[in-house]
Amino acid sequence: MVPLWWHISLGVVLFVIGAAGVLLRRNILVVLMSLELLLNSVNINFIAFGRYYADFRGQIFAIFVIAITAAEVAVALGILVALVRNKSTLKVDDVSVMKG
């Protein structure tokens, strides 16, 4: 079998790449996609730990993470469509109305 730290390292690498997308990209759509990547890298960790310690709760937690992600994406894209209708921009730094 594959050692556990290989899975954890894959999760780390994907998490850092996703965080780079969230922090550095300009396009709101790509920022949302990078958020998906972040949540998925966490899921890899949950399932790997669940498998290596023979515990189902890792998989159950991953199922809940996937459900919450689906809800989050639906709401986020709804907000995005409403935003584009009002402001017609896709750049994160143009949406700073609530900035102090």
Partner: protein, 166 residues
């Protein structure tokens, strides 16, 4: 055998994740993200979680990415394509990311708790049955809460995306 497959899937997953972040066109990002999710579901199969692998393909590739592609289709992405990264001041964020990645990798590699190579033996019998018994018996309340959250998100998305009627 397992290690070779894992390395293959992990390499492709990392490459496609980099394409997601680096691609100019959001459609390319979405397609690369789809490929990345498929690799991750293959990793789930290697981890003997077939239910999660199928759920991953159904929910992420089948539902979430189609939602993304629909939104990309609905809104004009051409002007946002011109500039990829936030202008100026990327250095602190990059330093923070390198620090974060290095810290996590050092912590994982220096600890001996992650060096397990042989997973603990799973209980005998039907894994899916045991999993669903745990899910629907011990975790019934969180399950119901998740269903309420999904319903609220459904209603909220419709209300948010609706045209103002006046």
């Amino acid at each position: 055998m397992d290690q070779g497959f894992f390395l293959l899937f992990a390499t492709v997953a990392v490459i496609t994740a980099l394409i997601v972040v680096l691609a100019r066109n959001p459609v390319h990002s979405a397609l690369a993200l789809m490929a990345c999710f498929l690799q991750i579901s293959a990793v789930f199969v290697l981890l003997e979680a077939p239910l999660l692998a199928v759920v991953q393909i159904f929910v992420y590739v089948g539902a979430i990415m189609v939602l993304f592609l629909f939104v990309i289709m609905m809104i004009d992405v051409r002007e946002a394509v011109l500039q990829r990264f936030l202008p100026g001041g990327n250095l602190p964020a990059l330093a923070l990311l390198v620090l974060l990645g290095a810290e996590m990798l050092v912590l994982v590699l220096s600890s001996d708790r992650f060096s397990v190579t042989e997973p603990a033996a799973m209980a005998e019998g039907d894994q899916i049955r045991a999993l669903s018994t745990t899910l629907f018996a011990d975790y019934l309340l969180p399950f119901e809460a998740a269903s309420v959250i999904l319903l609220a998100a459904l209603v909220g998305a419709i209300v948010l995306a609706r045209k103002e009627s006046g």
